[in-house]
């Protein structure tokens, strides 16, 4: 279920938009600060701000990360 992934991940932050589903997100906050806006879904920074993201990004990114760790 979406919303169960409560960790501090870019994929849970309200600045995130899909860039390469599910592994990469586009962070508008970083873009505005002239920082590289393309970041890993499972990363997070000091501006992390979880407000209302109800999506499968983190769940799917974790699955993908686990699958690539196994292979």
């Amino acid at each position: 279920m979406a919303g169960e992934e409560t960790g501090e991940f870019c994929g849970n932050c309200d600045s995130h938009n899909c860039y390469q589903y599910p592994a990469k997100v586009f962070c508008s906050t970083r873009y505005w600060q002239h920082l590289d806006p393309i970041v890993d879904t499972l990363w997070h920074c000091s501006s992390y701000n979880r407000v209302s993201q109800e999506c499968y990004c983190v769940r799917e990114a974790k699955k993908k990360a686990a699958a690539s760790a196994q292979s």
């Binding site: 979406a2 938009n17 899909c18 860039y19 589903y21 586009f26 508008s28 873009y31 002239h34 999506c55």
Partner: protein
């Protein structure tokens, strides 16, 4: 009118022989002359007349999901073959074109789907078409940088919306793009409601960057003298409307403001006139404003544009033949200006 005037032409029955071309089918529709088929056949006739009329400038109004549904190439071919002269579009139609120009796609989907799940997968639905969010985001990123580049070049000078689309078309490399084709063929694309689309939100992304010194300025008021000037210079003006809304109103109002009135009009819509809104208003209502001449050849095709518009284009171009080369009035003016 006398009684006999109402009974001039009997309905001829549609005959299908199994090897009909599109135009032959339209001729059969013309034989019937009734209901939607009659209107569609009339639209083909009017478009053919517009194209054969050397003095007519052809305006195309685009609204709705023209590109996602698969009509991008039709529009590009019309531009490249000089079968439209001016495009007035919603911002969204050109956003859809731009999405594909930077590598995105629209996908065949369905309308009976779990939309809450689509939301969680970052997928957007346009009736039965799906668009991944990342295709929009890629556009945002690429175009925000493009906006900055245009703003640097223009140094604070405001662009009319046709200049804005031209600058974008210049920077795109996709030959299958409407924006690119229009740039290459010198067909202006006006976006009177440019802000009401992803182009507006891209502007927010671009303008909100820290210490942004050059913010792109698009001034839609600058469009008015340009588009009215086109109407005014052209001996005749015709419009084809897909949908309605702001693009239709822009063309009609420009025809009125330039004191010309439209000479031809085709509107393809599913909207109704009873609301008083423009999209469903009849072309007879348009005549009452002086936006269309009373004598103008006009028809309103009540139908969904993806079904209707390809028939009109296919039929008209079949009639014109492969050797037909149209040099529009606007092209002739430009050639004359160059000669001077």
């Amino acid at each position: 009118m006398e009684r006999k005037d109402y009974l001039k032409e009997p309905v001829k029955h549609i005959k299908i022989n199994g090897t009909l071309t599109v135009d032959q089918l339209m001729q059969q529709y013309n034989n019937s002359g009734s209901f939607g088929a009659g209107r569609l056949a009339t639209a083909c006739d009017i478009y053919e007349k517009m194209l054969r009329d050397k003095d007519c400038t052809v305006f195309l109004a685009l609204s709705g999901a023209v590109v996602p549904a698969g009509m991008r190439t039709i529009i590009v071919d019309l531009i490249r073959n000089h079968l439209v002269d001016v495009i007035v579009s919603t911002g969204a139609c050109m956003v859809h074109d731009a999405i594909e120009a930077v590598g995105g796609h629209h996908y065949k989907g369905g309308w009976q789907v779990n939309d809450a799940e689509l939301y969680k997968y970052h997928l957007f639905r346009i009736y039965d078409i799906f668009v991944p969010e990342e295709d929009y985001v890629r556009l945002d990123f690429v175009f925000s940088e493009m906006y900055a580049d245009i703003a640097r070049e223009r140094k604070g000078e405001g662009l009319a919306s046709d200049e804005f689309t031209r600058e974008i078309g210049k920077r795109l490399t996709d030959e299958n793009s409407i924006l690119r084709a229009a740039y290459e063929e010198n067909v202006p694309i006006f976006l009177p409601s440019v802000r009401d689309s992803e182009f507006g939100f891209i502007h927010w992304l671009h303008a909100s960057q820290k210490d942004q010194k050059n913010v792109l300025l698009v001034d839609a008021f600058k469009d008015v003298p340009t588009i009215c000037g086109i109407c005014s210079k052209s001996p005749k003006n015709g419009m084809i409307v897909i949908g309605g809304g702001v693009p239709r109103n822009t063309i009609q109002s420009s025809a009125l403001a330039s004191k010309k009135g439209l000479d031809y009009g085709i509107v393809i819509t599913l909207d109704r006139p009873e609301t008083g809104g423009l999209s469903g208003s009849t072309l007879e209502e348009t005549v009452s404003w002086g936006k269309m001449k009373g004598s103008a050849g006009h028809v309103m095709v009540i139908g969904e544009a993806l079904m209707v518009f390809p028939f009109i284009v296919a039929s008209a171009t079949e009639r014109l033949g492969k050797d037909f080369k149209r040099v529009s009035f606007l092209q002739r003016i430009k050639l004359a200006e160059k000669g001077n």
